[in-house]
């Protein structure tokens, strides 16, 4: 309980724009750098940030998977092994880096993130799309879990062989109810937003304070510096 409160307070102290920048830096490093060391150092920096925010389990889990993927890839390269696929291992370690700050982004209260987005020079239409995407992503994941359960009950996911023999059918069974449910929820959500004045012309302020503070400046300077250095390594 205490850990939860501490984590919440620390997350409350950071601005959404800082975490967005962290995610952007992670994406740039992962796609530009060719050095294992450069990539590894930046991943370790993000690992430290996640730990500082109290997300120890997730940080450790990601970092262990990251290390295993890299070490395995090195062994494969040295001994000419190709199981599991080197491409798969590369994808795992490359994508884990941006996934880590993205996870932190998902932990920020959506209201706070919206407040941060509103302070950025983004056109309103694009911002609305971003906000709706952020709102809808967890819903879609939840709904997909329910559809997967229904498919399990019906026997559509009885075995891997069954799925591989009928890939298009399986895809259809997954997508059709998802589409119907998402359309219904989108409709209800839009109605709820309209009756609560989303279309009002007033200038909007937020429940949360969106301000770049000392902690944000520190994270921005160190992260941008680290990203540049790691790309040059």
């Amino acid at each position: 309980m205490m850990t939860g409160e501490k984590k919440q307070r620390r997350i409350d102290r950071i601005d959404g724009r800082t975490v967005l920048l962290l995610t952007l830096c992670a994406c740039i490093v992962t796609f530009i750098t060719t050095s294992f060391w450069g990539h590894g150092i930046f991943t370790f920096w993000i690992f430290l940030i996640l730990c500082w925010f109290g997300l120890y389990k997730q940080a450790l889990g990601c970092f262990v998977v990251y290390l295993v993927a890299i070490v395995w890839l090195m062994i494969e390269t040295k001994y000419q092994i190709s199981i599991p696929s080197p491409l798969l291992l590369s994808m795992i370690y490359k994508l884990l880096l941006p996934a880590m700050p993205a996870y932190l982004l998902a932990k920020i209260p959506s209201g706070k993130l919206t407040a941060s987005l509103r302070k950025m020079p983004i056109p309103t239409r694009i911002m609305l799309v971003l906000i709706v995407m952020l709102r809808f992503a967890p819903t879609v994941l939840h709904e997909f879990g329910e559809v997967r359960e229904a498919m399990k009950i019906r026997g559509f996911l009885k075995s891997v062989g069954n799925v591989l023999r009928h890939p298009m059918d399986t895809l259809e069974y997954a997508i059709v109810p998802m589409v119907f449910r998402s359309l219904k929820m989108a409709d209800e959500l839009a109605a709820s937003a309209i009756v609560r004045g989303i279309e009002s012309p007033y200038k909007k302020e937020s429940y949360y304070v969106s301000r770049i503070a000392a902690l944000d400046y520190f994270l921005i300077v160190v992260s941008v510096g680290a990203a540049v250095c790691c790309c040059l390594l």
Binding site: Q8, D12, P109, S110, G111, K112, T114, R135, P138, T139, H142, E143, E146, V147, E149, A150, K152, I153, R154, G155, F156, Y173, V176, P177, M178, F180, R181, K184, M185, E188, L189, A190, A191, S192, A193, I194, V195, R196, G197, I198, E199, S200, P201, Y202, K203, K204, E205, S206, Y207, Y208, V209
Partner: protein, 492 residues
């Protein structure tokens, strides 16, 4: 003080598909609590949507007639401004939330209406304190029970301090204790002089709150009752009007002979499960016989659905044993034998029409087609056979889900809240179908808060609280069941 509403000769149809509302004229005084009840599809929700302005702005159609709020025509008020006048609470809080945490959700309306940061904080904290949820402002909405989510929905409406509240089936997903707490909130709003309009099937919790009950049928207000007149209705009159029973003590248990045999088909032994530190099943033991219909009752969030999903093989138990037909059965082996029908059926529909829904997933031989037709006939769904499953009403969807279970010859069926959001007539229909299936030799477990449904189709009840079985008893009359679900335990 609340605002008065005047409706004059209102007629509405969704794009020429027959009139949803027909020549409705209604006066609602400021500070009045009005309950609209009646069968599903009768026009209750449409009427609430006209009052909150969603019709015709968002739900388009042909609208004639006028709505006045404090003498001013509603159509002269800009659509975005109507939310300041009327606060809304919908049936499913999941799809009305815009934030992922409580404070952000309560603040949403204030943010939209241009309040300053300080004002937003003040309004959020005041609304949270009024609804007594100030301790959970930083909690994730997903982690909350249905009861708490509904409180957040009300706080979210209250933060803007509207003079009118419009609620559409707000108690559909609440257990009895949460429903009474919800009634207390409505009482407090009434004392503040707010005008409150509630479209609702469940009436018992509104009997000492509502000033008038309007019975809506086929788009018209056909009857109007005071609480006294409502309570005086006989069971036969309630059935004819297709309503839920206003006083649950009045319910007569259906006298249907038990179809249960002596054969034990399901045995649960020392079942344990937890999510993190939250225990949802603790040494759970019970048996069910062939043809038995058992109600699984207990408060929201007490582990009923989790146990249902474990029995169906969708979740693996932490420890304990599930025995089917005398043999120990692992979770994977239970899939398809114990058939779990969840509360939300929209994500469970795979077919293009009702026959396709029953036969999908395997080759359609003439025998399978015939079997599917027989099942649809037995469930009284043949008139809708060509329809897309998602276009069926809630009660019809439940019957279709039962049909899918029958098609797969599942001997044990678990229904999770099959009658939530159903009107009296549909609730009785689904209950009748459950009895019919029991007669056909199916064992049925009904997870429910709905005493009317349990009394209409179940012969035994198992009560769970904090993952433990507290009671396991034969249902003989309404009183013992009502006592166990806490019907008379209203909090001050």
């Amino acid at each position: 003080m609340g605002k008065e509403i005047m409706i004059r000769d209102l007629t509405f149809s969704y794009g020429g598909n027959g009139n949803q509302l027909e020549h409705i004229s209604l006066d609602i005084a400021a500070g009045e609590v009005i309950v609209m009840t009646g069968p599903s599809g009768s026009g209750k929700s449409s009427l609430t949507r006209v009052i909150n302005g969603l019709i015709p702005y968002f739900y388009e159609g042909e609208l004639s007639g006028e709505v006045f709020v404090d003498g001013k025509p509603l159509k002269e008020i800009p659509s975005w401004e109507r939310g300041k006048i009327a606060g809304n609470v919908f049936q499913d809080p999941r799809s009305q939330f815009f934030a992922n945490e409580v404070a952000g959700e309560i603040a949403f309306g204030c943010e939209n209406y241009g309040y300053s940061h300080e004002d937003i904080q003040n309004h959020v904290h005041r609304a949270a304190a009024d609804i007594k949820i100030q301790d959970i402002l930083d909690h994730s909405l997903r982690s909350l029970s249905y009861g708490m989510r509904q409180k957040v929905a009300i706080a979210s409406a209250e933060a803007i301090d509207p003079e009118i509240y419009v609620m559409d089936e707000p108690s559909a997903n609440l257990d009895i204790a949460s429903t009474y707490r919800f009634a207390d909130i409505i009482r407090a709003l009434k004392q503040q002089g707010k005008t409150i309009i509630i479209a609702e099937h469940r009436l018992y919790y509104l009997m000492d709150l509502a000033d008038r009950f309007l019975c809506v049928q086929k788009g018209k207000i056909v009857r109007e009752f005071t609480a006294q007149q409502m309570k005086a209705l006989s069971n036969e009159e309630i059935r004819v009007l297709g309503l839920r029973t206003p006083d649950l003590h009045q319910i007569e248990q259906a006298e249907i002979p038990s179809a249960a045999t002596s054969e034990v088909v399901l045995e649960v032994k020392k079942l344990n499960h937890s999510f993190g530190e939250t225990i949802v099943a603790k040494d759970v033991n019970f048996q069910c016989r062939k043809g038995e219909v058992v109600a699984l009752i207990g408060p929201n969030g007490t582990g009923k659905s989790t146990i249902g999903r474990i029995l169906a093989g969708l979740l693996k138990e932490k420890s304990g044993e599930v025995v089917l037909f005398g043999k120990h059965c692992r979770s994977k082996g239970r899939l398809g034998k114990v058939w779990y029908i969840p509360q939300d059926l929209d994500s469970q529909l795979f077919g293009e029409d009702l026959l396709d829904e029953l036969t999908t997933g395997a080759e359609v031989s003439p025998e399978r087609k015939k079997a599917a037709e027989e099942i649809l006939e037995a469930l009284e769904l043949m008139p809708f056979v060509k329809q897309h499953p998602s276009t069926l009403s809630g009660g019809q969807k439940q019957r279709l889900a039962l049909g899918v279970a029958l098609m797969h010859e599942a001997p044990i069926i678990i229904l999770d809240e099959p009658t939530s959001g159903l009107d009296g007539m549909n609730m009785r229909n689904v209950s009748r179908m459950i009895r019919k299936l029991a007669k056909m030799g199916r064992t049925i477990i009904v997870i429910t808060h709905d005493a009317e449904c349990a009394l209409a189709c179940c012969e035994r009840a198992i009560r769970l609280e904090n993952g433990c079985i507290t009671d396991d008893f034969q249902i003989r009359g309404a009183e013992p069941l009502l006592d166990k679900i806490g019907y008379d335990k209203k909090e001050g």
